[in-house]
């Protein structure tokens, strides 16, 4: 509710500023112009949006799968923790434009390199909260399982893995926003279709309102995806949102 009020106020202010200052539409189109572009180019935007949405969805899914496997491996093996953790941090510092052309050479112009780039960027924010949640399991809880004769794997399956799920969800939610940026950058390295291409094209053709409209579509998608994940978390892990027992 408050978000809607703030949003409306911002749009109103923006519209006023554009008209009052007489700023060039090429630099900053008015919201009304963006809205017009959104309507006029809806077919084009939708067609390209589905491509980018697919890259984001599959990229996050790949990051969750690989990130989860990595978190589990690191959790089980102190040696792997020492060997992999610094590399994970390092992987976050790779600027996407540096590796994007390489990935295009390796995987071609299709979906492959985009998914790889989105996954690369989302991987770290998924691994860290998952590992933290695994490590936060009460030591007494592990002792209890050992007193029942549970194997390391049973303790993981029955106690640690469920306890790590909220961390995994936190990671996935963090990933949504940066995944959108990563997908745009990946597309700019070479693609046939996608929101990133629309943005590039529109700017080159001095159609700034269309570029803004394209960004708007992507932002709305990220917000919706975030909300969907939050909703799924509430439904699947109701216990994670209950107050802690004394």
């Amino acid at each position: 509710m408050m978000a809607a009020v703030v949003l409306l106020a911002m749009i109103g202010g923006w519209e006023l500023y554009v008209h009052a200052s007489g700023i060039d539409e090429l630099l900053l189109p008015a919201p009304s112009a963006v809205g017009e572009a959104l309507y006029d180019d809806r077919g084009l935007l939708w067609e390209n949006f589905t491509v980018t949405a697919g890259e984001i969805g599959l990229g996050i899914a790949a990051a969750v799968a690989v990130g989860l496997a990595c978190a589990i491996a690191i959790h089980f093996s102190p040696a792997l923790r020492r060997a992999l953790y610094p590399l994970l941090v390092g992987s976050q510092t790779i600027p996407i434009p540096v590796v994007a052309p390489l990935l295009v050479v390796w995987f071609g112009f299709d979906l492959g390199p985009k998914i790889a780039i989105v996954a690369l960027v989302c991987f770290f924010p998924i691994v860290v909260p998952t590992l933290d949640a695994l490590a936060r399991v009460d030591a007494d809880q592990r002792k209890l399982m050992r007193s029942f004769g549970a194997s390391r794997w049973q303790t993981f399956r029955m106690v640690e893995a469920p306890a790590a799920l909220p961390g995994l969800f936190t990671g996935a939610k963090l990933s949504v926003a940066i995944a959108a940026i990563a997908a745009i950058l990946a597309e700019q390295a070479g693609t046939e279709k996608g929101i990133g291409r629309i943005v590039d094209q529109a700017l080159a053709q001095f159609e700034t309102p269309r570029a803004y409209a394209a960004v708007l579509v992507l932002s709305a998608f990220a917000v919706a995806l975030f909300g969907l994940l939050a909703l799924a978390e509430r439904k699947l892990l109701p216990w994670a949102h209950e107050p802690r027992q004394p």
Partner: protein
């Protein structure tokens, strides 16, 4: 056959043995035998001296006996139970114990699992299917006054109910020895007394060998056949009181009151 856990040789670091590796003692005799047990803990900060939690504790628990260990906070009571459960190894002396199920201070219930699934945890570890484990756990929960709460998650249960679920989980582990660590420490005074009477009743109906540690002398006297008093850190057994009062015991029983005075004077000494 009992497993004998001896202190590892000096300088060698040994992992505590897994409880499942230990075999039940089917014969008569002691369920727990601690002989001259010493346990140190590594210093918290580099350079400070290691903490001696237990310093030569000798203690026997006969089969079917309920032994309570009382002592001030920090006298190594929890360490004693972890040794008996085979979760840690002593630095000196020997520990022999039948396979034990541990019930800790906090209920340690899994927040995502229902009461019945929490109670059935050890059965699941033992390899029973979810349905079979629930089938065995549900009647016990009903006996414990939790009928209708089988599907409730811990969040929806009161402190006393959670502790009863935790006790059901301990019983269902099917171990000959129960190690109870301040089982009612987190409860309010009234619930605590109710739960002590309830536990005395549950143990009368289903006798087990119990090693109970508590700082509540009254709790020890209401429940136990024998009460061992530990000194402040480093913990050493300074007195053993035999409780012969008939059951069910009343807190106001003159024999219990006299024993309480003795135990408290030993604790103050």
């Amino acid at each position: 056959m009992q497993t004998r856990i001896t202190a590892p040789r000096e300088g060698s670091r040994s992992e505590a043995p897994r409880a499942s590796a230990r075999q039940a003692d089917a014969g008569m005799g002691a369920a727990v035998r601690l002989d001259g047990v010493v346990k140190h803990f590594a210093p918290v900060r580099r350079g400070s001296v290691p903490v001696t939690a237990l310093d030569g504790v000798t203690l026997d628990v006969g089969e079917g006996e309920i032994v309570a260990v009382v002592g001030p906070s920090g006298c190594g009571k929890t360490t004693l139970l972890e040794l008996a459960c085979g979760l840690i190894a002593p630095d000196a002396g020997t520990v022999e114990a039948a396979p034990a199920a541990l019930m800790a201070q906090s209920d340690l219930l899994l927040p995502w699992a229902s009461a019945v699934d929490n109670a059935a945890l050890a059965l699941r570890v033992a390899g029973l299917s979810r349905a079979a484990a629930r089938e065995r756990a549900a009647p016990l929960l009903r006996d414990f006054g939790l009928a209708g709460f089988e599907r409730a998650r811990p969040h929806e249960l009161s402190g006393g109910m959670r502790q009863r679920v935790a006790f059901a989980r301990t019983l269902l582990a099917g171990r000959p020895l129960l190690c109870l660590d301040e089982p009612f420490g987190a409860l309010d005074a009234l619930t605590r007394q109710e739960m002590q009477s309830w536990l005395a009743g549950a143990l009368a109906a289903d006798p087990r060998t119990v090693l109970l540690v508590t700082h509540d002398v009254e709790e020890a006297l209401v429940l136990a056949d024998r009460v061992v008093v530990l000194s402040p850190r480093p913990g050493r057994a300074v007195a053993t009181l035999t409780v012969e009062a008939p059951r069910p015991r009343r807190r106001t029983d003159p024999a219990l009151v006299a024993l309480r005075e003795r135990a408290l004077s030993e604790l103050r000494a």
